[in-house]
Symmetry: C2
Subunit: 217 residues, 2 copies
DNA sequence: ATACAATTTGACTGACCAGTCAAATACTAT
DNA sequence: ATAGTATTTGACTGGTCAGTCAAATTGTAT
């Protein structure tokens, strides 16, 4: 029954995600989104009950597609250390693509939105928190393999290291957005990841690592 | 000539800094600030030509007072390694005080504002960038001492390490704000700082460090 | 063809926004 | 006292905001 389904909802989601990523939640109005998507405001509120609900939906949608890409980057075909190198490269390239497309460093959509709205919209704060946890969880499998193969000590706290790595990436990506400059991200992200893992800095590209003893306390 | 000077301007600055720190630039209106400071909007625009100009002024003001505290924490009375421990403790305590006062983790005012407005208000973006550089510069003196006393290799790139440390702190403080949770900040900040310095994790409080060789490439 | 359901439209509301301004006030120097 | 200046006030503007809604449209099933 009814009309045939359309792409209206996903068009709104994609448009909103783009606009908010470049700018911010507060600086993008529902009217802006509707105008950019060429959809009337009435339709917007047919699909979303509020602007905040839309924001939460964009966060989920953006993260799911990001998750797929990351799963590919962290593919078990590569040895674990090279996976982390690939991760750092991926994060940088993603920002560079956004820079080429939008003319500025955009940062992490979830973190920017989360920080902006943390004190005002609990729905958004909770969603940001959830996604950051999911992001961190994606690293656990690779870390477990590193323990199994002796690259990390057996008493390593996997959750904790995963969290530290996520936090480190978040810091560098945020800094890049604030400074509107990608050079530190390009140069330091890999170094920082390997330090968190307790490994020496890789000689660019060639993963000839020396393992450092890292004791949990 | 004229009336005697009043504290109107500084009252506006302090009130605005507080409100924006807890919430965000976009979610705090000029009316909100005036109401909280019990000052009429006409007076606001007597002292500030725009909301963005006020924001820039609060950033400068907040940073200058922060700078004084940091200079004290990094006081040359302590050995360099203990200074960094004290820095980590200070950052945590500062957030805890804000939590007690405002009921939530507030994060870094400069970074939150900078991220929020980076794509919209160039004045704010530039100010955030400037302050992050000044913050990073404050670490250089201590790092130089560490080189001089052999705690860091002589070919260490001081600017780069200072920048990495600032970025690391920023990441953890931002993460704490987004998650509204201080436990990771408390536990991981010190670890992360020492990893960036290429030093082993200190055994809590007692700075019996082992130095790691850290080669620049 | 017609009834019914899903979707779209555009005009609307009332609140709030940043910013303006002429007039009032309060102080100081003479 | 009075003239001049610094500061404060409150009422105002025009625009934008999130959100509403009744009516129109477009499809589908019978």
């Amino acid at each position: 029954m009814g009309r045939s389904p359309t792409d209206t909802k996903s068009k709104l989601l994609l448009t909103a995600a783009d606009l908010i990523w470049q700018s911010s939640y507060g600086n993008v109005s529902v009217d802006d989104i509707c105008k950019a998507a060429d959809i009337k405001k009435g339709s917007f509120y047919y699909y979303f009950s509020s602007k905040a609900e839309l924001a939460v939906a964009t966060m989920e949608e953006s993260f799911v597609s990001y998750e797929l890409e990351i799963m590919n980057v962290l593919s078990p075909n590569l040895p674990p250390i090279q996976r982390f190198e690939a991760l750092a490269d991926f994060v940088y390239e993603k920002q560079q693509q956004a820079y080429a497309k939008y003319g500025r460093v955009c940062g992490c959509p979830c973190a920017s939105l989360g920080s902006e709205m943390a004190g005002n919209e609990q729905l958004i704060q909770k969603k940001a928190d959830e996604i950051l946890h999911r992001q961190s969880d994606m690293l656990k499998e690779t870390l477990q393999e590193m323990i199994d193969s002796g690259l990390l000590p057996p008493n390593t706290n996997i959750s904790n290291i995963a969290c530290q790595i996520s936090t480190s990436i978040l810091g560098q990506v945020m800094m890049a957005r604030i400074q509107n400059n990608l050079s530190n991200l390009k140069n330091d992200l890999k170094i920082s990841l390997f330090q968190t893992l307790g490994l020496k800095t890789p000689i660019s590209g060639i993963s000839t690592m020396l393992q450092e003893q890292q004791n949990g306390q």
